[in-house]
Symmetry: C2
Subunit: 203 residues, 2 copies
Amino acid sequence: MGESGAGPGTVRPGGRTARVRAAVLQAAGDLLAERGFDGLDLAEVARRAEVGRTTVYRRWGNPSALAADLLSDMADQSLPRTETGSLDGDLLANARLVQRTLADPRQGRLFCALIAAAECDERTAGALHRFYRTRIAEWAPCVEQAEERGEVPPGTDHAEVVRAVSAPLYYRFLVSGDPVDVPAADRAARAAAAAARAGAFTR
Amino acid sequence: MGESGAGPGTVRPGGRTARVRAAVLQAAGDLLAERGFDGLDLAEVARRAEVGRTTVYRRWGNPSALAADLLSDMADQSLPRTETGSLDGDLLANARLVQRTLADPRQGRLFCALIAAAECDERTAGALHRFYRTRIAEWAPCVEQAEERGEVPPGTDHAEVVRAVSAPLYYRFLVSGDPVDVPAADRAARAAAAAARAGAFTR
């Protein structure tokens, strides 16, 4: 938990700070998933994290800053992309990952709360957009590699293909209320790959 | 305003009721766009609509019911689809309509507020999903006609193609924060049409 580099048995201030942050962000994520952004009470976060209130108020100050730090940590902790050797396989892996995240009860409610909060809170919106920029940049090289292999036309917008995989799943999740299931994920991957091959994403 | 059928010069209770509803829903929409769902105060709606508070409380009761009625009215009032005679043209018309709606300051903020409210309010969520079901059903026949013309393979899921046009625009609007501009709309239409032609949306 952020303690790499500390010798065995040593306790460094950095280690304690990292542990406090991890506990606070875990509690903040739980509370957001349970109660939404309006329920992100700093005193309750401190109680659940077993950390002093003063520490939480001094370090994070308000719910927006706490949500932004959680999103920054989620970006840092997020998984590296899967490499399958083909565009179809890579986009399918990405679609399934997004589907699992949105369909997971805790994660789904957490993203829902963060996205809803971003609608009315600029700081959360900035942090949310940075989180997705990080995730899209992580996966864009799979389209770059597909272009090198000749699977998609030269000049394809790599990031836009990755956005196209996620978009139908988030649309169902946030807008239309249709199920975010495995068939929807597979169709999203298939449609993005077909459109990319047809040159719909060239600049 | 809902008065068709009333003779000239007559004032029917239905006419007054319709006028009151129109004024209340206009005020509710303005307030949602300005202040979000948390700012949807029924007394303030009554004041702006120049309607008695008692009428508003008796008829709508709470912000969720008012937002649900607004969405129901938006579904009733929404424009018929454009028919251009080709799949590319029809999907482009749909994409441009969605883009204009989301990029319009009042409409964009209104949808944002309603979508954010749906995250934490079941009644608003139900009304939101019904609104999008209505809109998708309005446009799905353009894909059905394309299938009849042989532009897309038999067995294409018509509604899913329409969802695929909107999805990238809502993803930018709600999730990634990328601009919802005309090039994004045109790319969304192009990608949905290409994927449909390639058979990505067959059942």
